[in-house]
């Protein structure tokens, strides 16, 4: 501590070490948060099926959705943002589980409005099957989200599948 540079180095390095400590404590302080605070998903359902066609050898369905979900309960001081996405899942003869992301959005902690409200929104990404297995299938729509913390690991949350809505695709292309 006998020169200006040694003292400056000590102050800055102690500073950063203590900031790391505070950040870890903040993360630890919110470990069980998602057990008692979950987003409220009022609506997630099909609005209109626009088309179901064979497109370049694979089945593709184009549709629009209604969404009303309040993501605010998922936020706390260690969450930077949520990556929220809508998943369409269905069962085929070949695979018991098929999941396709139809729509996504980023909700940041600094956003004042954390309510996702989309009325008759067209899907960002089409519902595409690897083959020709979409006709006549039951499609379940569910909301999923990734928590991106300030300090710590990313982890997922999703809608209770018992509250997920379903619709059935027609048996013929249209």
């Amino acid at each position: 501590m006998y020169t200006v540079w040694v003292r400056l180095n000590t102050v800055v390095s102690f500073g950063f070490s203590s900031l790391f400590g505070f950040a870890c404590l903040a993360a630890l302080s919110k470990v069980g948060h998602s057990l008692y605070r979950q987003p409220v998903i009022s609506t997630l359902e099909l609005n209109k099926l626009r088309s179901l066609k064979s497109h370049g050898g694979v089945d593709r369905a184009l549709l629009s959705l209604d969404l009303n979900a309040d993501m605010d309960p998922a936020f706390h001081w260690n969450i930077k943002q949520l990556f929220v996405y809508i998943v369409a899942s269905y069962e085929t003869e070949e695979n018991p589980v098929n999941q396709v992301v139809l729509w996504d959005s980023i909700v940041e902690n600094v956003d004042e409005n954390k309510l996702l409200q989309q009325n008759n929104v067209f899907v960002k990404y089409a519902l595409v099957d690897p083959g020709d297995a979409l006709r006549g299938k039951d499609i379940t729509l569910s909301l999923h989200w990734d928590h991106m913390p300030l300090t710590g690991f990313m982890f997922q949350g999703h809608q209770d599948l018992q509250t997920a809505s379903q619709f059935t695709l027609p048996n013929e292309y249209q």
């Binding site: 501590m1 003292r7 400056l8 102050v11 203590s18 900031l19």
Partner: protein, 81 residues
């Protein structure tokens, strides 16, 4: 900066940064906003730099008592004789 000053500097910088950071952490927890903790920490660090880094006079109140250099010693002994 003398040894007492250096000891004081080390204690001061740790106390200032920890104190501001801890107060900021508590306020941040209440408001659920980590930036409150971060800004309080930043104030603590800047304050520590201002107080602890420059060679202020109050860090030099216990100057080191060096023994006399050899020529000086010989001169003094000659005088006393």
């Amino acid at each position: 900066m003398d040894f007492e000053g250096q000891k004081l500097v080390e204690i001061l910088l740790q106390v200032i940064i920890t104190f501001f950071g801890a107060v900021g952490w508590i306020l941040g927890y209440i408001k659920q906003d980590f930036f409150i903790c971060f800004y309080a920490w930043l104030v603590g660090v800047v304050l520590s730099i201002i107080i602890c880094v420059p060679d202020w006079p109050f860090f030099n109140r216990n100057p080191i008592k060096w023994t006399d250099s050899v020529p000086e010693k010989r001169k003094k002994e000659k005088k006393n004789q």
